[in-house]
Amino acid sequence: MKQNLNNKGVTLIELIVSFALVSVAIIYFYQTLYTVKKLYSESQKETKEFVNVNYAYRIIDELNNTSDDNENTLCGKINDYKSKDNNFLVEDGCREDIENGFKKIKFKISGKDYSMYFYNES
């Protein structure tokens, strides 16, 4: 039986056009993939930072409302608390100040400066 074979190939122009289209598709695909990867790694880092900062603020807020026997300042209470809780990542060098009549404390977490204000209700 004689088989009718199609021996026609593709022209160079067709080949170039298809390569160009595939390249454009790959560029978009890669950029999308890269963006999602960047988003994932940054969000992971920032979520960890957010959890640490949020926890520290919550604890400092509670410490401000508690009184201790030594009549410590808030920075004193923070320094005392640090040894009791490994998740409380406030670094050494807490400072107290007054800004516009509000009590202000400045502290560092992972080398970044944070401040917190307190209002004493009359």
Binding site: Y28, E42, Y119, E121
Partner: protein, 171 residues
């Protein structure tokens, strides 16, 4: 059995690739916007320190009666007095004592039906907040924080009016 040996035409392949490329061209800008939105949210919106600053300022405002505004208007020669409701529009609270932690403006508002700020970035924040605020009975204290050329926005929900006030939120 008769075997079908026909493959795809090159033209068919090119058409499919062109379609995939077009779809990707539409998908990519949306994915890129996702990253921009994420960066805004992670660095400029509702930062922990700003939320705590707003909570402190709210305590101060409640204690000093700055949001206990009474209003009076004259209708047909009759003076009607009542409490400022803050319900329909964003109200700027003018109190120089609240300028702490970079807080430059504070607004109080009810459920926002239409963001009314003139600033484009602020409007973007308000639009996002509008999408996440489903409680039409709630109020919000919104703060604009400015530090070293960067502007951050934060807001806290206020749903516990102080019973000792002359005018509770919402009148």
């Amino acid at each position: 059995m008769k075997k079908n040996n026909k493959g795809f035409f090159l033209a068919e392949t090119i058409v499919i690739i062109a379609l995939v490329t077009t779809v990707m061209a539409f998908v990519y800008p949306n994915v890129a916007k996702l990253y921009e939105n994420y960066k805004n949210k992670a660095s400029y919106y509702d930062q922990t320190q700003d939320i705590y600053t707003l909570k402190t300022v709210y305590r101060y405002l409640l204690d000093n009666g700055s949001i206990d505004e009474e209003t009076s208007e004259t209708v047909n020669g009759e003076t009607l007095s009542g409490c400022k409701t803050f319900k329909d529009e964003m109200t700027l609270i003018n109190d120089p004592n609240t300028k702490i932690g970079g807080l430059s403006e504070i607004y109080i508002t009810g459920y926002i039906t239409k963001p009314s700020a003139e600033d484009y970035e602020f409007n973007k924040y308000l639009n996002r907040m509008k999408k996440t605020t489903y409680d039409t009975a709630s109020y919000r204290l919104i703060g604009v924080f400015k530090n070293n050329k960067e502007t951050r926005y934060a807001s806290i929900k206020i749903d516990n009016p102080n019973p000792n006030r002359n005018c509770n939120l919402g009148g």
